[in-house]
Symmetry: C5
């Protein structure tokens, strides 16, 4: 799973059946690259989230009609990062 | 999922069975790399699309005879990118 | 599988169902990148671990309710690295 | 899927059961990196091919005894690349 | 699949159930990065091997109790690399 930040949304009227009615969020990763993820937790622009990729994205969301390869797994409240020196 | 742009098509007469009758599009990603994706939504050169990778590509398309690892998931009409500063 | 080091934990109250009750650890890989993994072996900050990715992460952990794409597979006691010259 | 070029073959007498009787080709990708793929279409050195990765590689080939993560999906005759300016 | 070289072994007493009784080898890839793979063919340090990743790693090995994401697929005797100029 990775840490990313929500920066916006995607408007796509013509889609494949398995992604027909899903919110698609634009995300930015640590190196500045863009990614597109399905969002079932209601993340807003500016939120820090963690993402689940691959087949786990489908299973974690718990909606068998949602055929994604990247899902927002949760909204990060805080992290306790203790770099080891 | 990733944002890519369609640049052309691939002509391949000799193929494995699982990709026998599929349109194969050439795509360009953000860093200029080429990729090949199956296309069931009818994207034309110049279109901005988002792609679905891995096993989700097969499930999203909804055609069990199409054994792809990268599918065009939809054509992008617009995006609402709100970089957080 | 990859070798990583635990650096902290993630606090996320709003999550998808498949990751509802799991410890999420922050890990640092060899190139300094951050990753998030589920932890069922009880690794503490500073521990060197190896991680299992993809669908193997779910199966290795042995808990069908844990829908992760990256799991801590074990805590490294020692390694016997014999670089071939 | 990716575009690669066949550069040779691999000789491996000691293998795991799922790859026991398969032709293994050496491929070169766009950035010069080497990869190994199973070949069921009979590609020869110098051929430009596209490759299928992940679980799709097994399904596309259509042989349930072939447990590969990268398969040659087809031999490229031609491509119609129309860079958008 | 990729070409890698065995450089050592990993000692991990505390592991997840799906990797409980497996030999874990340290491998070095072409760019000098380290990876960890399960080994069922008995590769020794210095051996050149090819590795199978993802779900194919589990299926190729043929042992349903081995939940790996990277397996040594075979030991390379020789390769016939014919760079196309």
């Amino acid at each position: 799973m990775e840490i990313m930040r929500v920066t916006g949304s995607l408007v796509c009227t013509r889609r494949v059946p398995g992604l027909g009615v899903t919110d698609l969020r634009l995300l930015c990763d640590a190196s500045g690259g863009l990614a597109v993820a399905t969002d079932t937790v209601g993340a807003s622009p500016g939120s820090w989230v963690f993402t689940v990729s691959g087949s786990a994205a489908r299973y974690a969301v718990g909606d068998p009609a949602l055929q994604t390869d990247l899902a927002i797994g949760g909204i990060i409240d805080d992290w306790d990062d203790d770099p080891v020196t």
